[in-house]
């Protein structure tokens, strides 16, 4: 009798663990070094992802242009991207979909700006003619929108020398005079300004082009997304909860940010989990105009929707 009961207990325990591991999905999440992704870190630390059956592991990706290939190769299952990286990848046949929003760039709360040496002030596009401007990546959203702004200002982009400059090097390169300015994201922007190395331009180039636009968002391969709809719904739900939690638990949120990024940003981005196909329309037009893309992509296929 005792043995029978013990056997039943073990069988039940085994069934419980087996079913738990059967529903847990291992998800490797790639992210860049930016506060845009804090809600996801919070979702992991607070156990929301685990409760939703997502066994999440975060991997920092120094070169974000590797993100699309990593998603297709299934090295990452979810990856953070921006539109100017995502759209050319989709255009050239990589089957990627946006699964959740990350941040929006709103006028009045710009988290990325042009900073220049104190030798000159930028009030309009013509002020950067003949200058060397560091961009975080060729064809990054910062670079593309900067070039769009220059075009809008009537400036020939060829007259501005655009140089790829990793964020950590921007301050030193401005200080040594090797570049005249850079498109710096927080907290690099604050480091440059607060240490007296440079100053923010008088005009915010990105919001001068568009006052409200999607900035960072989460993507996955279409193949993985179609196989894991519950994980995507769980991820979105946890991001929404994470944003609310950050608002109420500022100090603990800063600790988590420091843990994942190695620093704290003084400016909080505008997090937003909502994402629609229409959010990409502007970037498609700009990419086409600047030659980053050569043909339009099907707008209905960009954001994953459960069938």
């Amino acid at each position: 009798m005792i043995m029978r009961n013990l056997a039943a207990a073990f069988a039940a325990l085994f069934a419980l663990t087996a079913s738990a591991s059967a529903t847990n999905v291992k998800v490797n999440i790639g992210y860049a070094t930016a506060a845009d992704y804090l809600p996801a870190f919070v979702a992991k630390e607070n156990g929301c992802l685990a409760a939703g059956g997502i066994e999440a592991q975060f991997t920092r990706i120094p070169v974000t242009t590797n993100m699309p290939a990593a998603l297709i190769a299934d090295t990452l299952q979810i990856g953070a991207q921006t539109a100017t990286l995502f759209l050319p990848a989709v255009e050239n046949g990589l089957e990627l979909v946006a699964i959740a929003g990350g941040t929006r760039l709103l006028q009045g709360n710009e988290t990325i700006s042009l900073v220049t040496s104190k030798a000159f002030q930028v009030k309009r596009g013509a002020d950067v003619v003949g200058k060397k401007i560091g961009v975080p990546g060729v064809n990054s959203v910062a670079d593309v929108m900067f070039r769009k702004w220059l075009k809008n200002e009537g400036v020939d982009v060829a007259k501005v020398q655009i140089i790829e400059t990793p964020f950590p090097q921007m301050k030193d390169l401005i200080k040594s005079g090797q570049i005249d300015g850079a498109l710096a994201v927080e907290p690099i922007r604050s480091f440059i300004v607060n240490e007296g190395v440079g100053q923010r331009a008088a005009v915010e180039y990105h919001t001068a082009v568009v006052k409200d636009s999607i900035l960072a968002f989460w993507t996955a391969s279409k193949k993985w997304a179609d196989k894991n709809p519950r994980s995507i719904e769980g991820f979105r739900k946890c991001l929404t909860e994470g944003i609310a939690w950050i608002g109420a638990n500022g100090d603990r949120a800063r600790e988590i940010e420091k843990q994942y990024l190695g620093f704290n940003t003084p400016v909080r981005p505008d997090w937003n989990v909502d994402i629609k196909n229409e959010d990409f329309a502007l970037y498609v037009d700009v990419n086409l105009e600047l030659g980053v893309m050569r043909k339009r992509v099907d707008p209905k296929s960009l954001v994953w929707a459960q069938r």
């Binding site: 990848a89 050239n92 570049i179």
Partner: protein, 293 residues
């Protein structure tokens, strides 16, 4: 029973021998023709060239087939037909020539500087025991440094500019020519040195008239190696500093996931490298005709 088995086996073996003999008789002319062709191939430059072209076409055909049949993904490996299409398109628009021109100019400037420095140092070290003792240990320290490792230092001094690129290319180009020049100058035949001594030639005249032509075979070999290195470093520095050229085109193609453009860039680079090497070989044959006279 055993006897019958033995007879059957003997009959089978006899038939096999007969068959092998007839097969050898049929194949013998073919084997002889192949041997004659192989010998002609070794000695006939036109046949050698044709063989190289056939092999290249075969590789391209296999590559095309691999992409068409899905053995390799089109996303990451473009078909050669697509890559050629991009090259033709760029040639028609004119952008191909300006891109090649920018790379050639950058490479040429760095290579010439590197070769000039290498020849001067090589002549000094190869002809002077004192120069050898003073300079060689320091040069041996710098020689094993990969030229690409110098890039961060070059960026600090010159920034992300064309000067940085020229410096790195020159630094990388020096070593093959320097080593070849040292060897060439140090091994001038004794008879030629005695002629210079008999004619009471000055050191400079000896170097220009006797030692340099004697060392030219070694120097030319060094030049070909350094030219290939110069091209590699040109592409790397173009990618690093976003300088216009073939390297930057390949870098941009990778960033925008345009695999056809990427492979077009690689093919253009390969063809360009082949052509400049052929140009150097032609120059060698012309300049050193006296060697075979």
């Amino acid at each position: 029973m055993t006897g019958t088995f033995h007879q059957s086996l003997t009959a089978i073996m006899s038939a096999c021998r007969e068959y092998a003999h007839r097969l050898h008789q049929s194949l013998a002319p073919i084997i002889l023709a192949c041997r004659r062709n192989a010998h002609r191939l070794r000695s006939d430059p036109i046949s050698k060239g044709l063989a190289a072209i056939i092999f290249t076409l075969l590789v391209i055909a296999l590559w095309q087939a691999a992409v068409e049949t899905g053995v390799v993904s089109r996303l990451f490996v473009a078909a050669p037909s697509q890559a050629f299409g991009v090259i033709v398109e760029r040639a028609e628009s004119g952008s191909l020539w300006s891109t090649i021109g920018a790379t050639a100019q950058r490479m040429g400037a760095g290579w010439i500087v590197g070769v000039a420095v290498a020849m001067l140092l090589g002549a000094a070290i190869g002809n002077s025991q004192a120069a050898h003792q003073f300079l060689s240990p320091t040069l041996e320290f710098f020689r094993p440094l990969p030229a690409s490792a110098i890039i961060p230092v070059a960026v600090l001094f010159f920034g992300l500019t064309a000067k940085m690129s020229t410096f790195v290319i020159a630094f990388g180009s020096i070593w093959p020519v320097l080593l070849a020049a040292i060897h060439g100058y140090a091994n001038v035949p004794r008879e030629l040195r005695e002629v210079a001594s008999t004619l009471e030639m000055s050191r400079l005249r000896y170097i220009l008239v006797i030692a340099t032509p004697s060392a030219s075979v070694d120097i030319m070999a060094g030049l070909r190696i350094s030219l290939a290195l110069a091209l590699i470093l040109t592409v790397v520095t173009e990618m690093q500093a976003s300088l216009p050229g073939l390297g930057y085109e390949i870098f941009l193609a990778q960033r925008t996931f345009r695999s056809a453009d990427l492979y077009a860039g690689l093919m253009t680079l390969g063809i360009f490298g082949f052509l400049i090497n052929q140009a150097l070989l032609l120059a060698e044959r012309r300049l050193m005709r006296w060697r075979t006279a």
